[in-house]
Symmetry: D2
Subunit: 381 residues, 4 copies
Amino acid sequence: MSPAAGETIGIGMVGHAFMGAVHSHAWRNVHRFFDTPLVPRLAVLGGRDETRAKAAAQKFGWAAVETDWRALIARDDVDLIDICTPGDSHAEIAIAALEAGKHVLCEKPMANTVAEAEAMAEAARKAGERGVRSMVAFNYRRVPALAHARKLVASGALGDIRHVRSVYLQDWLSDPKSPMSWRLNKDLAGSGALGDLGAHIVDAAQFVTGELITGVSALTNTFVHQRPDAAGGVGEVTVDDCALFIGRMTSGAVASFEATRYALGRKNSMRLEVNGSKASLAFDFESMNELSWYDGTEPPTEAGFRRILVTEPQHPYVGVWWPPGHLLGYEHTFTNEVADLLTAIGGGYHPEPSFDDGLRVQRVLGAVEESAAAGSGWQEV
Amino acid sequence: MSPAAGETIGIGMVGHAFMGAVHSHAWRNVHRFFDTPLVPRLAVLGGRDETRAKAAAQKFGWAAVETDWRALIARDDVDLIDICTPGDSHAEIAIAALEAGKHVLCEKPMANTVAEAEAMAEAARKAGERGVRSMVAFNYRRVPALAHARKLVASGALGDIRHVRSVYLQDWLSDPKSPMSWRLNKDLAGSGALGDLGAHIVDAAQFVTGELITGVSALTNTFVHQRPDAAGGVGEVTVDDCALFIGRMTSGAVASFEATRYALGRKNSMRLEVNGSKASLAFDFESMNELSWYDGTEPPTEAGFRRILVTEPQHPYVGVWWPPGHLLGYEHTFTNEVADLLTAIGGGYHPEPSFDDGLRVQRVLGAVEESAAAGSGWQEV
Amino acid sequence: MSPAAGETIGIGMVGHAFMGAVHSHAWRNVHRFFDTPLVPRLAVLGGRDETRAKAAAQKFGWAAVETDWRALIARDDVDLIDICTPGDSHAEIAIAALEAGKHVLCEKPMANTVAEAEAMAEAARKAGERGVRSMVAFNYRRVPALAHARKLVASGALGDIRHVRSVYLQDWLSDPKSPMSWRLNKDLAGSGALGDLGAHIVDAAQFVTGELITGVSALTNTFVHQRPDAAGGVGEVTVDDCALFIGRMTSGAVASFEATRYALGRKNSMRLEVNGSKASLAFDFESMNELSWYDGTEPPTEAGFRRILVTEPQHPYVGVWWPPGHLLGYEHTFTNEVADLLTAIGGGYHPEPSFDDGLRVQRVLGAVEESAAAGSGWQEV
Amino acid sequence: MSPAAGETIGIGMVGHAFMGAVHSHAWRNVHRFFDTPLVPRLAVLGGRDETRAKAAAQKFGWAAVETDWRALIARDDVDLIDICTPGDSHAEIAIAALEAGKHVLCEKPMANTVAEAEAMAEAARKAGERGVRSMVAFNYRRVPALAHARKLVASGALGDIRHVRSVYLQDWLSDPKSPMSWRLNKDLAGSGALGDLGAHIVDAAQFVTGELITGVSALTNTFVHQRPDAAGGVGEVTVDDCALFIGRMTSGAVASFEATRYALGRKNSMRLEVNGSKASLAFDFESMNELSWYDGTEPPTEAGFRRILVTEPQHPYVGVWWPPGHLLGYEHTFTNEVADLLTAIGGGYHPEPSFDDGLRVQRVLGAVEESAAAGSGWQEV
């Protein structure tokens, strides 16, 4: 039987802005490409403003709306809670959902503090014992090029890892007149570039190498302290504009990270390079269908960084999509992600990245904040 | 009122292979992003094998199936016929649909011969007088980078056009053991690389420059004449493996074209470069979110080909998708395409590319075939 | 004994403009890097204007000057004639030098007509029987990346050659107000982009593939017919501004060529791509230290065009220069070239490219001119 | 009068390995391209082993040799001492030369310790009062692209500088079996990747931005502690294999640096990116003829990183070389450098980078070492 006709799972999604749009697209389409064991029903969309929530539900294809996320969790037609809100509400919603026995997909950063993340991970472990699944939405793990990179490292093809360097460069704050946003308010966002962008590259570095960051020296900076707000006034920027840190990894590799919203001209340049003793790889999300690969075992006259178009049917996730050279885009990472989640739920195992994985990222972010606050000294994770 | 709740239009699609999958995706999702005046209903899927058609319908989300395309056209719940079959049936289906007063979207190449294309264009003109709309699915016109390129040319930013060079390079036939396919059978496909790939670059060159190709000298070649077929036997390749031609354009520009399935390592490299007296542009579908742009009016010390990430909200089509640097993929070109088609139908005007545009492309392909058959001499279009 | 102290060879160079500067540099420095069997003495510089010739001789390091090239050839202290004049004088000087028993290095294009090239090749063959050496200065053969490309093809690594595509794009005539030059005068230059740029890519294609072009269909165009001359008047452009041609090669491969001085933004983009049944390679002189290489025998998940930095000591010519990643520039191609020439003279064998090789190129250029003049029909070479 | 016939200056060079070869080339050729006020005489080459020194002198074109650098300094036919030895002898030779009233060109890193650098700078200041000139050979300042980058920053085109990120990546130690070398011996080399590569990127960052690094947090690592030596035994590696540091600059910009010899596949990738409030620039020595430039004042639909080929006659140093698109190589940076030095000597002013500039770099390197030694805490420069 085709998965399109299979057993269904009711989705309740909280939040309907940028992340809500892309998650809706994934839920609507995942079973049209993947043979998922469960077919998602877009059951309920949660949003505090009923008018806006209804408009979003109609636009994105949700059957109902709830203005109270507790009511949404409580509904019988909802089996999985997808959390697309700002970070300050993640812990509360996720823990409530897990305690109610609902599977949870939580956007990143998992939480605004290490303490919240610890509570969430604890709730996930307890719920997990009862078969409830939880996952953090580090969607870049589902970029085929990065999933393939992890496989290459895991195969031993890189040998010993010596260097990891990763940056996440955007530029939407370069203009000092760009307006205030919830993302610049520490109470809502927890941090600035660090949590928004740094979380992705910390997770990606740990995911691709299979190692953990063990300590960091860090600095953060805020270039523009006040910005015009929507009300015609001035908003105080209370988060970092950038975060730079160097560190060490489990195996003895050294690593360098930088997250910023002020790298003028870089729109979404999430880059990762890993140098091993046998091979190296490099990635840039602005060319997300490509993986740079250097095989150091080739004869020197033919060795060179090769541009692998990660669009072959044998590449991770690609087989269900289009022929070679027919590129995938940003939203495919989310469709791939929920395919993995549905497969784990249907298959009875825990999906990755788990809340424990999310906690490991949060602890690195916490160490970065502590180092930066304490004059850039070394901070163990 | 949100378009998602708007008036609907019943779609009947004939064919459910590669093109059927991507067209289905476009019809399912177009109104989730664009404010289209009409909401598509995936009414009927046409396929000769009922079992396979039903499986495809369930997978892709179609409400019903028909095994006879004439019956599909005749249904009251179908307002628009989407033709995704091999080229040999395009003319018959399209003309019947138009005569039945149904709008038509026809995959490229529009037809297998100039005569068929002429009959189709004639039918489209007649039906058009009664408000019936028709469009050829040259989806590369809906790549934001190429749509933007056309705007740049139309604005006069390039000055006089001197050179057009375009190649469409694939490599899936490089291996002599790759199996036989309908695409290698002249009776079904009409031609090989010429109609499949050459049609795209001829249309793109004419679309972006706003000019027509007026004559060509051409050569075609078949590198591998026999290939294993699915039955364990040997199939005769009766189409070209590649087509190369040089020509002139309306304004006096010169042009060079090459289409091949034997450019080992090039997966879907549809490239177009235009050199004008004031500026130049270049594009490669393997980096489809980018446009290379050289502004010759810059001071020489700062001039250079720039890589425009065509992901800004002001770029064609991009505003309904994701933030800057969050890439689009292959299927977006189809979603953008049906958005334009629905907008034209709802707005009461003829969409582009029209069947006349398709005929103009077909005439160039015809001239290429005639030149190649006659020893590569000059052939007026 | 170090070559720097070895037997010397007296050089007499005719012409002291752009080519004269770069040839002088090569003669001055070749033995400082290569272990050549002969050390060049910069004996005599030939130039019609004595004042300018003397200034050039002092600047470039020549010991004497002659205003009459016949006198220069006749000197006892001159063993090798290096011809750096416009194409209209190549045949006369080269034949006279060969008859006088002097070795000859002749800049490209070898001649302005096929008839001249035939006479030169005949003279070279006769002189060759007496141990006199002759060489055409197709310096791009001495780009390490192209020399390595030839080795890769010769090793069989590409398998059967299917496609050759080559362009040579410059833009210095894009501006209609760029001044008149001897290069735009057919009497002096023979042709325009065809002889100046097309000669290079025809030779490079034949050199790298080891095949010959057997026939072509061609078109040429002149975009700007009049240009301001140095005297404040108007000069008539009597050469082609661009040449486009398609053709076939010995083995059955197909090929496409384009030479132009109107590709705005392309400064010296001499490109060559060869697609074989097992591998492909690509080159662009604007990144002259790189060779793109696609090995089709790699697993599809790791295959990709790799950027070989052709700066390893094992690469052709590179061992005498700098460490990996320390780039070479334009003039190194000339230094490498004269190293090969001196080695052939010292070693008692004929260097390549020979005048026969030059004639083979000239015949292709001749066929291009005939095809273009006769309405772009097929012309056998 | 042509510079080639001008007043001469006697050069005495100490050391004749890699740096000696490239400096010799520069001294031999500089006046053949630049109109220098002084023509260098390659007077004396210094080397401890007379046989090897004589062979090098003949190969590179030096008139005489000395085995004792003190004797070399004392010679009347020597006006300028060019120091191409390992770093441990720089201070002693340079100070002796300056006290003897000889101009000095000193390879980088200027010294092995801050104390040595301070003594050298003091000697240079004293000698400078008597008209003696001194310069540190940070040759990357003479890459046309970086010299142009500095001009762009100085013009204000970047606005406020926010980010500097620079790496210098090589891979020649990736293989644990690569042999021991003086560069891995702290007594001779002072440090490893830090002094060899880090010195270049610290100087380049300060040169291009016109700012100083004010403090750093750093870590260094040695991946391979023992290597085979030439005698068949084992050598102890006593230097860093890599150095990573983050820091702040005078204006408040933040900066990130990494120097390593273990970035497999990167041959000589010296990169610098600067993000300002109005524009950004990026450079990679592996494409040394290019500068990436993003002009943030362009309309968003046309903005993009452009690849400026820094080969126009208006670009720094390029006018004396070849036409646009005809690339320069590694050794041109040295020829440009000695042209600047000769021009300063002839013009009666102090060249840059001065020994004070070198000291400023050395202090940053010193702070990096102190931070790394003290657990990666913050260290003011």
